[in-house]
């Protein structure tokens, strides 16, 4: 019997069902987490991180002036950020207070979820007028608070009193305010790069008990760490606190929880990134001082633990491994050290393409530290030492991922090191340098060095010294997937306004500790001709998977090694596509530059305060067990929506429009249904209260499946047919509805199709769930899916909506 049952349980209703332990409160807790989680909240948090960082850059300009190990006065920086965020904290307190007051004015016995929604919706978010990010955060916070209050009312109605009592919704909202403070504190630390890389997702042992975990996020473990903490982890932690708030047993527990969060947030200071920057700087400077023939092992030995620490791995206790690694790497890099060799090596790196890379960079953004990518004289001399530092970092990263057996076997360890050293060298040094020293594999393709960037300030990403000139045809671009389930082709149409074959330049980037997509984008904006002040510039970066690298560059190896989830931004919890956030360590990205073409603005952008574009995958599906409905949402981007509306206004047959819609639907559904981890298909459980959404990671890469796999093509075909029938009737009945939706300023339109009680619903749901659990599916679905839904409803709405 599991351990937690032995513990003194506060839950009287814990009971046993066969061999399965069912714990209503635990279930409730998990369901709550599922419900509270909100993609947009992540984006709002990232927005705060970025604005906070921008604010700081303006007040404390610094990194631009000093090369390498710049470290601002952290205490001062944090104080400045707190002052900056103070109005936000006040507004949040005020908002939650007003929401609570609105509930208190109502008779608690009468208020049902519907009424609560109404009451709370009427409480306006007072805009701060300070920053767009503040307003966005407050909007998201309101949404979350509303969910929590409704949930509390629902529980009360249902009679689930977690432990014999229930906190009234209004009290709950008042208690929520003090929890916002630790959340904001974490956000500020994230902006300062001072948040621990692995934030514990749950605060209390209570939550651990609910979730039957040891404080780890369920299924959140990935082999490769992210480069910076993820805003999703912050949200998860916040949500867990809210859930605990709701389910707390008594006033004492409530107070303990709030206090514990405040203390925990205070304690979470982590300076490993700064230590890493400093450690690397010391290493680079130390190398520069070495004479020929001097042994760099001591320097490596000092640098290694720092490099490993940032990866979240402590190898301090493993002296043997550290020593072994240091000796090996020391021997490896020794021939490249010394005042005579080092400059030649630097020169070789410059000649391998760095000159091209940096001379094109405009240096006018003097106020923008990360825009300063120009190569200056002293900088050139550091290149060799930096390349050696990169080699040590990469080899260390490789070793920290080895299993115990390998680490314990000297020969195996050395073999692994040889491989790690060779791989790392191939990405840091030009091929010409490698060959005579035996670092180069005979089979190694001509190596192009990756250079640490930006050239001024702390290095926050690497860039490939070679820029690839390619011709992108619509067919090729259509086959390459970018984030959000879209294709490179649609990206080129959207942002460059080009459909035909186009000459383009491809720039490659790699994530290192401290990398964030927004940082890369901001730093590279000048060179790529992007508007550095624009919103969401990170959307111009795409995942460089082996497939993308193969198609675009003719070399799949440039796509890097397969990481746990090569197509995802993170390996865990469902993510909004294209957030600025945390890539996986070593993950590669690329950007497309089309020389001479004016980059188009992102559709849907207007003046400040106008709705920002919110889009995810073009097709989403919800299998709702509560109502036995399948809901399909198909988003048409602005360009497509407008051309279709024009055709309808022109009086063209809607058949053309329908054919295009059908094609899009079929392709997307086929792909979505064949990949179980795909977040485009969600299942809402049949238990009315426990409407936990089963979500997998956002799918951004090429579909692994597709037609011809299992029973899914049939399922996709059936769904497409049903949805198309609904669309066909809707268009025949009233084409004005479509046309009217396109007249709204929102980005594109979404077609919402509701298939009520379709035949084979249970089978389809079971199929999707089997996919999730990894069970292969052989039972054909087509027999179960014969017939037609009880009813099909179609709604056409402006903007982006999920099913």
């Amino acid at each position: 019997m599991p351990e937690y049952v032995d513990a003194v349980s506060p839950f009287p209703s814990l009971y046993q069902l066969g061999d399965e332990i069912t714990d209503p409160v635990g279930e409730e807790f998990q369901a709550l987490l599922g419900e509270l989680y909100d993609d947009e909240f992540d984006l709002a948090l990232w927005g705060l991180v970025q604005e906070g960082e921008a604010h700081l850059r303006q007040i404390v300009p610094g990194p631009a002036e000093e090369a390498g190990g710049y470290r601002p006065d952290q205490v001062r920086a944090e104080r400045l950020l707190r002052t900056w965020a103070a109005p936000l904290q006040e507004s949040a307190d005020d908002l939650l207070g007003r929401m609570a007051a609105a509930l208190e004015a109502e008779d608690p016995d009468v208020a049902d979820e519907h009424r609560i929604e109404e009451l709370l919706e009427s409480v306006p978010v007072t805009m701060t007028d300070v920053s767009a990010a503040f307003d966005e955060f407050l909007g998201s916070l309101k949404k979350k608070a509303k969910k929590l209050a409704k949930r509390a009312a629902g529980l009360a109605r249902k009679g689930i009193a977690a432990a014999g009592r229930l906190v009234p919704a209004a009290v709950l909202l008042r208690r929520l305010a003090p929890l916002v403070r630790p959340l904001l504190q974490r956000v500020l630390r994230l902006a300062l790069d001072r948040l621990p890389p692995a934030l514990r997702p749950y605060a209390s042992r209570l939550a651990q008990r609910y979730l039957k975990t040891a404080g780890e996020a369920p299924a959140a473990d990935v082999a490769v760490p992210t480069t910076v903490p993820d805003a999703a982890a912050l949200q998860l932690r916040f949500d867990a606190s809210l859930a605990e708030l709701l389910l707390a047993a008594d006033e004492y527990e409530l107070q303990t929880l709030v206090a514990a969060e405040a203390v925990a947030a205070d304690d979470e200071q982590d300076d490993t990134l700064a230590l890493f920057d400093e450690g690397r700087e010391r290493f680079v400077e130390g190398l520069a001082r070495l004479e020929e023939g001097q042994d760099p092992t001591r320097l490596v030995e000092e640098f290694l633990p720092v490099a490993a620490l940032r990866l979240g791995v402590r190898i301090v206790g493993r002296e043997r491994v550290v020593h072994f690694l240091a000796t090996y790497l020391g021997r490896l890099i020794a021939p490249y050290v010394g005042p005579r060799i080092s400059p030649a090596l630097s020169r070789a790196i410059v000649d391998a393409g760095l000159r091209m890379l940096t001379l094109e960079a405009p240096d006018e953004e003097s106020g923008e530290p990360d825009g300063a990518n120009g190569l200056h004289e002293g900088d050139t001399r550091r290149l060799a030492a930096e390349a050696l530092a990169a080699l040590v970092e990469d080899a260390t990263a490789h070793v920290t991922q080895l299993d115990e057996e390998t680490l314990d076997d000297p020969l195996l360890l050395e073999a692994a090191l040889v491989e790690a050293g060779r791989d790392a060298a191939a990405t840091s040094f030009p091929y010409e340098v490698l060959r005579p020293d035996g670092l180069a594999d005979e089979a190694t393709r001509p190596a192009v060095p990756w250079v640490a960037m930006p050239r001024r300030g702390p290095r926050r990403y690497r860039k490939c010294a070679r820029i690839f000139d390619v011709t992108l045809t619509p067919q090729l671009a259509g086959a390459v997937r970018v984030f959000g389930g879209r294709t490179l082709d649609s990206h080129l149409r959207d942002r460059f306004g080009t459909a035909g074959p186009v000459r383009a330049r491809i720039h490659l980037y790699q994530a290192v500790p401290g990398s964030r997509l927004d940082r890369i984008a901001r730093s590279e904006a000048g060179l790529l001709g992007w508007d550095s002040g624009s919103e969401a510039p990170w959307e111009l970066l795409h995942p460089l998977t082996p497939i993308a690298a193969g198609l675009l560059l003719g070399d799949p190896a440039l796509g890097g090694k397969e990481v746990a989830a090569p197509d995802d931004l993170t390996g865990h919890r469902g993510r909004f596509p294209g957030t600025p956030g945390a890539p996986l360590l070593g993950q590669r990205f690329y950007a497309v530059q089309v020389p001479g073409v004016v980059t188009r603005s992102r559709p849907g952008r207007g003046t400040r305060g106008a709705a920002r574009r919110r889009t995810g995958p073009p097709v989403t599906v919800l299998l709702d067990g509560r109502t036995k409905e399948i809901r399909v949402a198909l988003h048409l981007p602005e360009a497509k929506a407008q051309t279709m509306a024009a055709a309808l206004r022109r009086g063209d047959s809607p058949a053309v429009t329908l054919a295009a819609l059908r094609h899009t639907l079929r392709a997307a559904l086929g792909e979505a249904l064949s990949d179980a981890r795909d977040r485009r298909v969600r299942v809402a459980e049949a238990t009315p209260e426990a409407s936990q959404l089963r979500t997998g990671p956002e799918h951004g890469g090429p579909g692994q499946g597709g037609p011809g796999r299992g029973g899914t093509p049939t399922a996709a075909d059936r769904l497409t047919t049903w949805a198309s029938l609904g669309l066909s009737r809707a268009l025949a009945r009233d084409r004005r509805a479509f046309v009217a939706a396109t007249e709204d300023p929102a980005d594109g339109v979404t077609l919402l199709v509701q298939l009520v009680q379709p035949p084979g619903f249970d089978e389809l749901r079971a199929h999707v769930k089997r996919r999730e659990s990894g069970t292969t599916d052989s039972a054909p679905l087509h027999a179960a899916l014969a017939g037609a839904p009880h009813d099909t409803r179609v709604e056409i709405v402006p903007g982006y909506r999920r099913a």
């Binding site: 904006a525 849907g604 003046t607 396109t742």
Partner: protein, 425 residues
Amino acid sequence: MRDDVAALRLQLARQVGHWRGAVSTLADPENFAAAGAWRTLEHQLGVAVRRHLAEAVETLRAEADVLAAELGAARVGADLELLRRRITRFRRRYTRVETALDFYGDAVNSRTSDKLAAVLRACDLLAIRSMQAVLGPLGRPTPPVLTYVDKGMGASILRTGLRLWDAGGLTPAAAIKITRHNLHRPTALMHEAGHQVAHTLGWNEELASALRLTLADDPEVAETWAGWASETAADTFAFAHAGYAAVAALHDVLAGEPRQVFRIRPGDPHPVAYLRVLLNSAMARRFYGSGPWDDLARAWTLTYRIGSAPDGDRELLRRSVPWLPLIAEVCLLRPMRAFGGAPLAGLVDPVRVRPDALRQLAQEAGPALYSSPYWLDAEGLRLLALSGWRAATEPEAAESVAAEFEDWMTRLGQGVRDVVREERP
């Protein structure tokens, strides 16, 4: 008292010091336009202009350093005399660079408000698009454009690729002046962009010889029109992109005193106003059949009766009129080497901006035409033609047409670069 050489040296040393100091005041772009105004430029344009100016200043700084070195090396009176002459030359160069900086600074500074900045960015974009339509298919790069507002009647262009005042390099962007009165129907943008295109492709010279050849039966008319080829080319380009809107706007700019309308100035590349308006109407008639341009032409000849033209020029005007349909034909439909063997209408079809085509566009796109980023982006040029057409044919709705125009141009410009976010505390 010092000796002569020392006295001379002291005066020169002071001047060298002065000019070296002066150069450093040129180095900061914010001495010429406010930082906020610089930020309103589209990113690449801003980079190109500032880089160009910085290079000019750098060249100047290097020259100043040479002066200082020469001062140090000067030993005898002859050396000092040489240096004195060099300083004088340096002053001229300084003035030229300063003039260039002043010019771009003023142009950038004309973006006085977020709204005006957005409208001007939209103008930049439309000018670029109009050039791309011709240069793109011919595989020629399209230069950046910096539009600015200024007083006066007519627009103007400082072409890119010219070696101007600063001698530091070629002008980095085509600078187009739009007059304040025409800000709400800037079809003149197309005219000025036409100059850039014609210059880049060598169309002016080709058109001149085509006109000379076609009108050979009347050598005086032929020679006169050949001399007007560059402005005629620009008018043609504007007509192809904007249709009747360009004709009406041109009419309104030229409708001055009769003596101005009839004045032929020797060497002036502009066709005499009287004929220029009639040629533009002839282009509209050639492509669109009959329409409001007929009334415009009739009213023009009624207002400016040819009989009142100056004696010396009247005959030439009279003899030119019958040639106008043929000239329109040559301009728009004659295949040209400049266009890769195609006529201009083959690259920019004026029929796309025929009034009924514009009406159809408005009908198909609906209200979204003025607000959807897609339409603004895809049909910005035709939208300009449509707004211009409405301004020309619905004078009673002038105010609402202007407001509508400003609204969509602002949106378009904001799309090019969102209003700089208020990040500063």
